[in-house]
Symmetry: C2
Subunit: 195 residues, 2 copies
């Protein structure tokens, strides 16, 4: 078959251009050029631009990355756990920045393709955190509150911070500012939820 590294280079280049210029705005010519290849090579690896787009979406899912995040902290104290979750969550978002930009920009246009992935992503994460909060509630560590609303609130703070900084303003905050902000979020949330 075709060279794997060539294929990967096309996918990487495509992800970058789709995420910055959008599906329509990124041309096959430009994608190939950025990968250092002739346009025709792109079409030898992928039947069509649409097929390439789908492959990009499937190759860069962020789902598995985040699943393992929560179980690891269940033994640690509440505040410490949340700080770890906040930091990992933010870092994963940063790492997958291009993919998230792509999804946010194109959901309206290709809901069939994108919505399922994204819904799963939001839902799984949110729900897993809700389960964790529910556990803590049973142990009387946190106060009586809807755990799903709590999960929403916590992840929402972190996501909105990421969104504003990295997607909108396009500026990664320095580590110190980031850490302090997330710590501040955790403090408010912990204070607002402990029994």
């Amino acid at each position: 078959m075709h060279d794997q590294t060539t294929r990967d280079r096309i996918l990487e280049s495509a992800l970058h251009l789709f995420s910055t210029k959008g599906y329509i705005g990124a041309t096959t010519k430009e994608i190939a050029k950025k990968a250092g290849l002739a346009e025709v090579t792109l079409f030898r690896h992928f039947r069509s631009k649409e097929k390439l787009f789908e492959t990009v979406l499937n190759s860069y899912t962020f789902l598995p990355d985040l699943k393992g995040l929560l179980p690891q902290v269940s033994d640690k104290p509440y505040e410490e756990s949340l700080l770890i979750i906040a930091e990992r969550f933010y870092d994963k978002l940063s790492e997958r920045k291009e993919m998230i930009q792509l999804v946010q920009a194109e959901v309206q246009r290709y809901p069939e393709k994108l919505l399922k992935t994204y819904q799963k992503f939001i839902y799984e994460l949110w729900h897993t955190l809700a389960l964790y909060l529910n556990e803590l509630q049973k142990k009387r560590i946190i106060t009586k509150l809807d755990p799903e609303i709590g999960a929403r609130a916590f992840l929402g703070m972190c996501f909105a911070y990421f969104n504003a900084q990295e997607l909108m303003l396009n500026k990664t905050p320095d580590k110190k500012t980031k850490d302090e902000t997330l710590k501040g979020f955790v403090q408010i949330f912990v204070r607002g939820t402990t029994a």
Copy 2:
């Protein structure tokens, strides 16, 4: 000059199509058709597609809308104030949903045009809330915390909820669910910040 209502119809149609299909994806033909006009009429009102885009951006700023939101609540008790702010904020975002979708999707592509507007929007709102929190801090109503981080946390929860529901899942939650969620957010935040 040209008819004002015709112009407005083009702008409205353009906003809708730009926000759902993106700048490149929305064609002048389709915009005109949706406005019930011939394509050539669009070009009689706007020199170019780009000029039309800029006019849309300037016509639908959400900035002034939100500025008046905060001063009105300064006499009310803390929790009540925050609930009002959360609800108004969410509703304004809903009302301007198309504009926000447009900005989020296109910032990467036209930062010169969009960033200034959006930066102002985030910054003003966030900063105004921070000032309000700072006031409360002086009155010893809320605890010692960075007011800007507090503002970020609070608006972040609300924005992320809006973003997930209305932009991603494209489903406006029913009033009851929405109210309860926002109330939950406010409770966590108030509990987490009161002295």
